[in-house]
């Protein structure tokens, strides 16, 4: 067992840090310093900067624009970007549909879609959940019927389609066989958002920003060539994502950054002249959370090291989503509690509360989503109970 990075890995980390310092435009750097909220155009600007460096899709094969990095370097890159507060890139192309097209797509599909994902020329969103198919995703109803001319006609509604308002393309799970058992009649399609009949209606989140949309499909004609994988075989693609190495879902870098802010807030906030960081009750609470985060981080390292050695994701990876979301929520909650009255401020003009606090309240709100999206923590526990502990159902 060895916890240390090799000299080469350390050199790579230093290279990443130096590059970020240099490459990050001033506007983004300012927001990053206070964990501000990035607009879509800022995210895409950063996407293009990373792309120019060749680091936008570190986990992709080099021939499709990947960085040719091993697992650990990929992790180092991701962690350093998170620690620097860089904008989080939209995961839908890079992390989700891209890898699925790589694994299940035809060569033509790869050539058509992958380069534009890497270049940031086409933005993607995800059409999985429906109003009545959330945790029970397989009960989805969006229908895709052949029109006899080699096309499929889509009708129905998707929900929680994050950033659909900016997306050029959406990948959807749709029902192609209504008679089959529910997991068996689903197919995976790529849909141009400009196709007539597609409408995305943004939904305001509790954070006060429109993070996701309801997306409606009314007689949307999709060419057969946009079917990925086998007809009625979409469920396999949906599940395949879970088998991929997903150490990023623990959001360790993000929570580390928030905990750093927690300490900054605790040092700058006083009670009767004493900084809260020196008050035992607050100090213990911060220490306890830091230890819990350390446990998560080490668990993430274990998953990473396992992936590095080519092992399939082990039991440790299944807990990353659960603990990652819980700890992220606790970090924001602690920040809010430390802020006292300042935590009440909501989207006020700059200067109302200290700049390093300003983004906390909406992020605290949105952090509640982390234990819900991507398979709620309850669903994760069902999966662990069954697949890892082997409990009967």
């Amino acid at each position: 067992m060895d916890l240390s990075f090799t000299p080469e890995q350390i050199a790579f980390r230093d290279e990443v840090r130096a590059w970020i310092r240099e490459a990050m435009p001033p506007r983004i750097r300012e927001k990053a310093a206070v964990d501000g909220h990035f607009e879509h155009d800022e995210i895409m600007a950063w996407h293009r900067i990373l792309h120019a460096k060749g680091w936008v899709a570190p986990h992709w094969p080099a021939e499709w624009g990947g960085a040719g990095l091993d697992v650990t370097r990929r992790f180092i890159l991701t962690e350093e970007l998170e620690l620097a507060g860089a904008p989080s890139l939209s995961p839908f192309g890079l992390m989700m549909v891209g890898p699925l097209i790589l694994q299940f797509g035809t060569d033509a599909q790869r050539r058509r879609f992958l380069p534009k994902i890497v270049a940031g020329e086409e933005v993607w969103c995800q059409g999985y959940s429906e109003p009545n198919a959330g945790s029970d995703l397989a009960s989805l109803k969006l229908s895709a019927d052949p029109d006899g001319k080699g096309n499929y006609v889509l009708n129905g509604q998707k929900t929680w389609t994050t950033y659909a308002q900016y997306a050029d393309w959406i990948f959807v799970l749709a029902r192609t066989d209504k008679t089959a058992k529910k997991q068996s009649g689903i197919s995976f399609f790529l849909v141009d958002m400009k196709t007539p009949g597609v409408t995305a209606r943004p939904t305001l989140t509790t954070a006060g920003t429109p993070a996701f949309c309801d997306t409606f499909f009314e007689n949307v004609v999709v060419p057969g060539e946009n079917l990925v994988g086998p007809l009625h075989g979409g469920w396999t693609l949906a599940k395949a994502l879970l088998g991929h190495e997903r150490t990023y879902i623990a959001a360790v870098g993000m929570s580390t950054r928030v905990l750093r802010r927690v300490k900054r807030i605790a040092a700058a906030t006083t009670e009767r002249g004493v900084p809260l960081l020196e008050v035992p009750a607050w100090r213990s609470r911060i220490a306890r959370l830091e230890i819990e985060l350390l446990a998560l981080k080490m668990t993430n390292y274990r998953a990473l090291a396992s992936a590095e050695l080519g092992h399939a994701p082990g039991p440790e990876s299944s807990i990353l989503k659960i603990r990652g979301s819980e700890i992220n929520q606790q970090c924001y909650e602690l920040a809010m509690d430390l802020m006292g009255h300042d935590a009440l401020s909501w989207h006020n003009e700059p200067g109302t509360i200290p700049e390093h606090e300003a983004s906390v309240p909406p992020q605290f709100q949105y952090a509640r989503a982390a234990s819900i999206y991507g398979g709620s923590n309850e669903i994760q526990k069902n999966v662990i109970a069954k697949l890892i502990l082997g409990l009967p159902s």
Binding site: S129, N132, A133, G134, S135, D136, S139, T159, W160, T203, L204, T205, T206, G208, T269, T270, E271, R272, G273, A281, W282, M336, D337, G340, H341, A343, L344, S345, W346, H347, N348, T352, P361, Q365, Y366, R368, A369, S371, I372, Y373, S376, N377, E378, K381
Partner: protein
């Protein structure tokens, strides 16, 4: 020992409940979120006519001579409906200051129109460096003959953006943190040098940041004896905290009710999700928490009127800690059990989550009250 409401109190409870249901709905509150005031002057007038604003004031001051338990009944219902009208700021904060420290003249000038529903008030006590300590007053009031000159900054003044009159704490002697030397001044909102900046708060309410930029206040605007306001501020903190507990009960009850309803109607995997045992037990834990918070809230609403400040502080601090423990759990789990729609602004459950967080912070958070509880002689 008796926890039952009197017939009058039961009537009050059902009156407020049906009023909230008909005239002060959550959808009305939603619309008011975009309003610069954030609450309705006509509804405020109606509340006054129904006697709620004057409820707790003694008859000598034009009120009905009710108890805090009566107020708690009103607040629980207002909490359940997320009613944003400035009851706590006007009645319990500024109102108590005027009642305790003012004479018949001040009562007539300020409490009478308040009780009539013609005005609203605010109390500016919090300062940036003081957290939840009302004795941390850096704002100064320097006497100059028959006048004082006030300079300083007050933060997060509830209803400060809309109040006709703001009661402000300032230091006439001593240093931040001293109990002695704090005085209260009654300032009309158009007082020269009084700068009021409206801000939004997380729960969809408005409040104000207030600067006193050389405000000149005649000595007649000072409430009570010079430098002696701290005990009343301490009492007001407890009234505010007990009010937050009562309102929080309504928030929890509503959030629990919405969640249980959702569990009974939402289907996944071909079943009502309320059939899943893990979610059932979660709902039970929420229920248990809400009942526990109710118990300590009752304790606080009775003991907040106790003549012994230590008894008062101990009960109120216990209730505020319990509110934090329970309210947080109940509203967080409400969101979780609603799933994705719990994160959308269009669903009401998120509004309850936000309001609960604000109630936890107002008048002292969990750590503040935990330390305060352990500092009382009864510990």
């Amino acid at each position: 020992m008796n926890f039952d409401l009197t017939p009058d109190q039961k009537l009050l409870e059902s009156t407020v409940a049906s009023f909230v249901k008909k005239e002060a709905t959550v959808s009305r509150f939603r619309a008011l979120r975009d309003d610069p005031v954030g609450w309705s002057k006509s509804l405020w007038k109606t509340m006054a006519e129904l006697g709620w604003i004057g409820l707790v004031f003694p008859e000598s001051a034009g009120g009905l001579g009710g108890s805090f338990v009566d107020v708690a009944i009103v607040l629980e219902q207002l909490g359940a409906g997320l009613v944003p009208e400035p009851f706590v700021a006007s009645v319990l904060c500024a109102g108590t200051a005027l009642l305790r420290l003012g004479g018949p003249e001040e009562h007539e000038a300020h409490l009478a129109p308040l009780i009539a529903g013609d005005t609203s008030l605010a109390l500016a006590w919090a300062e940036r460096g003081g957290r939840y300590d009302p004795t941390w007053v850096e704002t100064t009031a320097i006497r100059n003959g028959d006048e004082y000159v006030l300079r300083g900054e007050k933060v997060f003044v509830l209803n400060g953006h809309a109040a006709d009159t703001i009661v402000v704490s300032a230091r006439t002697a001593g240093n931040p943190g001293d109990s002695d030397g704090i005085s209260l001044f009654v300032l009309p909102r158009d007082t020269a040098g009084l700068r009021i900046k409206t801000i939004r708060t997380m729960d969809g309410h408005k409040a104000a940041m207030v600067s006193l930029d050389g405000v000149v206040a005649p000595a007649s605007m000072r409430l009570g004896a010079e430098g002696a306001a701290a005990p009343v501020l301490d009492e007001i903190m407890d009234l505010g905290a007990a009010a937050a507990c009562a309102e929080g009960l309504g928030v929890m009850r509503a959030a629990l009710g919405m969640t249980v309803d959702y569990l009974k109607t939402r289907e996944q995997f071909g079943l009502k999700i309320g059939t899943f045992q893990a979610l059932q037990h979660r709902a039970v834990d929420m229920f248990v928490r809400a009942e526990l918070a109710k118990s300590t809230s009752i304790l606080a609403s009775i003991k907040v009127a106790d003549p012994d400040p230590a008894e008062r502080r101990s009960a109120v601090s216990a209730a505020k800690v319990e509110l934090a423990l329970c309210g947080r759990y109940v509203t967080q789990q409400s969101i979780q059990l609603h799933g994705g729609i719990g994160i959308t602004d269009e669903h009401d459950i998120g509004l309850y989550f936000k309001r609960m967080h604000v109630l936890n912070a107002l008048f002292g958070d969990e750590e503040h009250h935990l330390a305060r509880f352990a500092a009382q002689p009864s510990f």
